[in-house]
């Protein structure tokens, strides 16, 4: 995270959570034997404390797991850490939220006064940085991984200091999503949950809670990784991108935005401001698939999304996308086109196999070999259709002979 974003904020580290006595989180870890070498422990304490700071949460193992999803511990094997959920349930449930935690001496008593103290500090206005810049930084979750060594010496522009680029609203048949919307904000918004009912399940497979709290949709798109998860989803939804350059603005369909490996229909000074998701009729179905080496907190070997609408059993509209199979996140134009006007049945789905193999051109890399990615392409098409139309096709239909 760029230091500049901390301007006017209060940063809490482990030191800021220590009291004379141990907090419930610290006590849980001690009692459950959930710390061994101790190197990862402070981060875990901070995250779990953050979990308890939300008002009225139900504490359970799932919540603890989600909170720990971005933490690696090489010593404990995590069981003892998960076990701390039960300790916290007994001691903290019913007392969550900052004020209650303070009242129960579970976090230091300076917390409620933080907003006041910040207000009292003379805060000079802090600029986002020059427009002529080496780097626009949004969440920084990709940039700091790729260019961490170079950023401190570069000119940067902190996009997060433009809060207007965060809103989600419905207008003129589109859901407008500000490019700075984080993955979590996106998934938790009622309009999105309405449009993409399984979004929470997809989201759980993307990065970790901590990263999703920072990573933006815009960053995922502009990053142009051939395997970006949100990009693949937005491709299938045939979103439209709004690019701004000073006062000028233009729109580009996301399906034609990616020109080549990390090459975009965009000049360097343009900012992605908005992502427009066309509203779709109620009978539209959506599915997202992701296969990765580690199921959670991993980049996909291949991912794919499908949006499909039938009328009287005939496919009228379909958007299929796939990541990890080309230099760009790929909108499967030919494959999508093939399905139009057809019924969902085994033969029709099988008919797409050869078309999709023509459309993709994966390379072998650490995420998988060419053969694997080509095989996954077929498997994920089967997955889309068997998941969305179980009454029409089953996996067994494709592999009867086994």
């Amino acid at each position: 995270m760029p230091l500049g974003e901390l301007h006017g904020k209060h940063l809490v580290t482990i030191e800021g959570l220590n009291m004379d006595h141990l907090s419930p989180v610290q006590q849980a870890i001690v009692d459950e034997g959930a710390t061994q070498c101790g190197f990862c422990t402070p981060g875990i304490v901070v995250s779990l404390t953050g979990y308890l700071m939300k008002d009225k949460i139900i504490i359970n193992e799932e919540g603890v797991k989600k909170t720990l999803s971005g933490h690696l511990c090489r010593c404990t094997g995590y069981r003892s850490l998960k076990q701390s959920a039960f300790f916290l349930k007994d001691t903290v449930e019913g007392h969550t939220g900052i004020d209650t935690l303070v009242a129960n001496r579970m976090i230091p008593d300076y917390f409620p006064g933080i907003p006041d103290r910040l207000r009292k500090m003379q805060s000079s206005v802090f600029g986002a940085g020059e427009k002529s810049t080496d780097y626009f930084i949004a969440g920084g979750t990709d940039l700091y991984v790729q260019k961490g060594d170079l950023l401190p010496e570069s000119k940067v522009h902190l996009l997060n200091l433009h809060p207007e680029m965060k809103a989600i609203s419905k207008k003129n048949g589109y859901i407008h999503v500000g490019a700075l919307t984080t993955f979590e904000e996106f998934a938790n918004h009622p309009d999105i949950a309405n449009a993409i009912p399984d979004i929470q399940a997809y989201m759980s497979r993307i990065a970790s809670l901590q990263i999703r709290n920072r990573a933006t949709l815009g960053g995922n798109i502009i990053n142009a990784s051939p395997i970006g998860d949100m990009t693949t989803l937005l491709l299938a939804l045939e979103a439209v991108l709004v690019l701004e350059n000073d006062a000028q603005s233009r729109t580009v369909p996301i399906t034609s935005f990616f020109r080549g490996y990390k090459q975009l229909d965009k000049i360097p000074s343009e900012i992605l401001a908005d992502i427009l998701i066309p509203e779709f009729p109620l009978n539209t179905k959506i599915n997202f698939e992701k296969v990765s080496k580690r199921k959670y907190l991993d980049i996909a070997s291949v991912n794919s999304a499908m949006k499909i609408r039938r009328e009287d059993g005939i496919i009228r509209e379909i958007g299929l996308s796939m990541g990890g199979v080309a230099p760009v996140p790929l909108f499967l134009k030919a494959t999508s086109h093939y399905f139009i006007g057809k019924q969902v049945c085994r033969d029709v789905v099988e008919g797409a196999f050869s078309i999709i193999q023509q459309e993709i051109c994966p390379i072998s890399d650490i995420r998988g070999s060419v053969d694997y990615k080509r095989l996954l392409a077929r498997q994920l098409i089967i997955a889309h259709f068997t998941k969305l139309f179980p009454e029409r096709v089953a996996v067994r239909d494709f592999y009867e002979t086994y």
């Binding site: 999803s69 580690r294 095989l375």
Partner: protein, 751 residues
């Protein structure tokens, strides 16, 4: 007792090497390493770096005042490459700057001209070209050749076993402080403080006593800092010696993964002969260890592969061959299990092949061949206190193995693309360093006049709970509360000639040494108090809960009074204890002996669910019966078992080291090298401890627990394979690990 450091860990107050307050004028080092796998160094260009602001020095092999040599077993490892580089990531030069960023920037400016030479990455290729380290080893029991024709079924197979990156969360690091008169103090994150001392002295051309090595704790080690913490400590020392300033060297994650060795990959062939009932009559295995570029600890690792080549089974005719093969990869090194896991994987694979051929569950073969008391290992030792069948039977009953098997089969009958799989994994792991002389340890126990106690041993705390164990042993030994005990950092000026903290033997060795030291102090105190009480036989005196008892009855002597009076009476309140494991030996010419003090046994049952459409899997449960002896702290030992299990599961499944043809590691970051996370590990982990009358060698009946549980993880490979076979019953699957989702899917749909 809880983990002694737990409170300060949760408060973020535990200090690691670079958390200590920084001395003023400290400098920082960064390492320039070979960009190629193999070649002659023609020229190294450092001029641009030397002129950079903030760069203090660039050091190469020419700047080494002593010997440029840090090989622990065989002298084949330079600290900084002088003429030839043998793997990508081999250190060539050290850049010292006023900040870590500047030093790293300096490294990026160095260029090197190398005349490239042919490189080898495959151990069998290295073997065929004669590139081996040390001599091949062969363990023989009975006569395999004469037995094959007596077998009803003889099968052969090949295994391709992947390596494993340690991913200690604290990367390699050291800080060296120059002291007066050519003395240096090195704070090193090492499992082997004496190895650091020895090699730093050698590199600097100084006597050992000039080098003090101090280790407070490690942020994980797992074997990766047994020998391979040495180079970085020596480099920091070299830089401090040259600049006369404190120098810190912390490897970033990318450098750490690139430059350090890992668990050894193996290629192994096997041949197994059984009766139609599934009794194993003969087993032959050839292990080609991928040792990497230098010997490091590879010969010792190989030895353990041979020792554990038959795992928990008695096989009357055995021939196991093993060889260390030199390749152009970073030198592979110790990793929890130390060669044992690879040996076990191969015999378990052979059993899988037999079971698949006979079309019976794997566990039916396993159960027919488990070790019994007094059975002979191929290396000539008889099994004593054998708990192989005991843990197996207990697991079978307690966890209802037959019901699990039935549940899996029923599920698979009614589900097409989702299949369940299960496997049982017994383990038998020998405790002791197989290099006999290393089974020694010392402790220094100091009692202060206020009754508080300081204990120093040769053991290093790396999260495994050694300090907690030693504190608990010392408190029990004295008969006083454990808050009286402080465990000091591990320091070469207090304890000399330490063996590394490894081989699961750290508590056994150092705990016993502590008890011996305590015995000396107690003996003096008891003599004194016996005299004061007018008792002839000091054996009648005991200390319980800080009270001095005579014949079990309270006296008016307490711990405090005892200590104070002893001091006034000029009685020595300090002692040095020394322990050497008795009765172990090994004859490397005959390849027979009694190398292990005892063995640890256990049995795990692992269940998985496989998505045969996507090739992905979940581990549903792991249920273990483990031979724990009498734990000093059940909480600490439980943590060792669960943590070891996690590493074993990861090693077999998603931890994938993949090199390209240039010898560069593709999975060289945590974004690409995947270790278990909170979701990967099953929620359903059950542990049952087999407590026994105690093991006479471990302090208070305690048994070693560090390494053995890792090998339970091997079962997951066969559980996934079981699910794969349920989907494609006629198919032959490879015995290649890790069994990544990619390998699963490609094999399910090979047509």
């Amino acid at each position: 007792m809880k983990h002694i450091d737990a409170v300060s860990h949760t408060r973020g107050e535990s200090q690691f090497v670079d958390d200590m307050p920084q001395p003023s004028e400290m400098l920082y080092a960064a390492v320039f390493s070979s960009p190629v796998m193999h070649g002659k160094i023609i020229a190294l260009h450092v001029q641009d770096v030397c002129s950079m602001d903030g760069i203090v020095a660039v050091l190469t092999s020419k700047d080494i005042p002593g010997e440029n040599q840090i090989g622990p077993i065989i002298q084949d490892e330079e600290l900084l490459a002088s003429a030839e580089v043998c793997y990508v990531g081999q250190p060539v030069a050290l850049v010292i700057g006023t900040s870590p960023e500047i030093a790293r920037k300096g490294v990026r400016k160095i260029t090197i001209d190398v005349e490239q030479l042919p490189a080898i990455t495959d151990p069998k290729e290295a073997f065929s070209k004669g590139n081996i380290i040390g001599s091949p080893r062969t363990f023989i029991l009975g006569d395999v050749e004469a037995t094959w024709q007596k077998c009803d079924l003889v099968l052969e197979g090949v295994c391709d076993i992947g390596g494993q990156e340690h991913v200690y969360l604290e990367t390699q690091r050291a800080r060296a402080i120059p002291l007066e008169e050519n003395n240096l103090c090195i704070y090193s994150a090492t499992q082997g403080p004496s190895a650091v001392q020895r090699h730093a002295a050698k590199v600097l051309g100084l006597p050992g006593h000039n080098i003090e090595v101090d280790v407070k704790r490690l942020g994980g080690g797992f074997g990766g800092k047994e020998d391979q913490a040495t180079p970085w400590a020596c480099m920091a020392a070299l830089a401090a010696w040259h600049t006369k300033k404190p120098v810190e060297l912390v490897l970033g994650r990318a450098d750490d993964i690139k430059m350090t060795g890992k668990r050894h990959p193996y290629k192994s062939d096997f041949k197994i002969g059984v009766t139609k009932e599934g009794k194993i009559l003969a087993y032959e295995a050839n292990h080609y260890q991928n040792s990497g570029a230098t010997a490091d600890l590879s010969p010792a690792v190989l030895e353990r592969t041979l020792f554990h080549g038959t795992n928990s089974y008695f096989i009357p005719n055995v021939k196991i061959f093993g060889v260390c093969c030199r390749t152009n990869l970073p030198s592979n090194t110790a990793f929890r299990g130390f060669g044992g896991p690879q040996g076990m994987f191969v015999i378990e694979s052979a059993i899988a092949k037999v079971a698949e051929k006979l079309d019976i569950p794997r566990e039916e073969i396993q159960t027919k061949n488990l070790l019994k008391e007094n059975d002979l290992f191929p290396y000539g030792q008889q099994v004593g206190n054998c708990r192989s069948l005991l843990t197996w039977n207990k697991a079978v009953e307690k966890y209802k193995l037959s019901e699990i098997r039935k549940r899996v089969e029923d599920y698979n009958k009614t589900h097409f693309e989702i299949k369940k799989g299960m496997a049982v994994m017994p383990i038998c792991f020998g405790i002791s360093f197989t290099t006999t002389y290393m089974n020694q340890a010392s402790a220094l126990v100091l009692v202060y006049t206020d009754g508080s106690i300081s204990v120093s041993t040769g053991g290093v705390e790396m999260g495994q709970g050694l300090k907690s164990n030693i504190a608990s042993i010392a408190a029990k030994g004295f008969g006083i509360r454990d808050i009286r005990i402080k465990i000091e950092s591990t320091n070469t000026t207090r304890v000399a000639n330490m063996s590394p903290s490894a081989a699961s033997a750290t508590t056994v060795l150092n705990g016993n040494a502590t008890l011996i030291a305590i015995g000396q102090v107690l003996d003096r105190l008891k003599s004194m108090v016996a005299e004061e009480l007018g008792v002839q036989d000091k054996g009648r005196i005991t200390i319980v809960n800080e009270k001095v008892l005579c014949d079990g009855r309270e006296t008016d002597w307490t711990w405090d009074r005892l200590v104070q009076t002893a001091h006034l009476n000029r009685i020595d309140l300090s002692a040095h204890g020394f322990f050497a494991t008795p009765e172990i030996y090994f004859d490397k010419i005959k390849e027979k002996g009694h190398p292990f003090a005892y063995h640890i046994f256990g049995t795990a049952i692992i269940e998985v669910t496989l998505d045969c459409l996507r090739g992905t899997y979940d581990i549903d449960s792991v249920k273990i019966v483990h031979d724990l002896g009498r734990p000093l702290s059940e909480l600490v030992d439980r943590g060792q078992i669960e943590g070891g299990l996690a590493q074993g599961l990861g090693w077999m499944t998603i931890e994938d080291l993949s090199f390209n043809e240039k010898g560069q590691l593709l999975s060289g970051a945590l974004a690409t090298y995947k270790v278990p996370d909170v979701y990967f590990m099953p929620d359903d982990i059950e542990l049952t401890f087999l407590e026994d009358e105690g093991n006479t060698l471990g302090p208070y009946g305690n048994k070693a627990v560090g390494e053995p549980p890792l090998m339970y993880g091997i079962g997951v490979f066969f559980a996934i394979r079981c699910a794969m076979r349920a989907f494609r019953p006629q198919r032959e699957f490879a015995l290649a690990s890790p069994l990544t989702p990619e390998r699963v899917l490609l094999q399910l749909y090979a047509d």
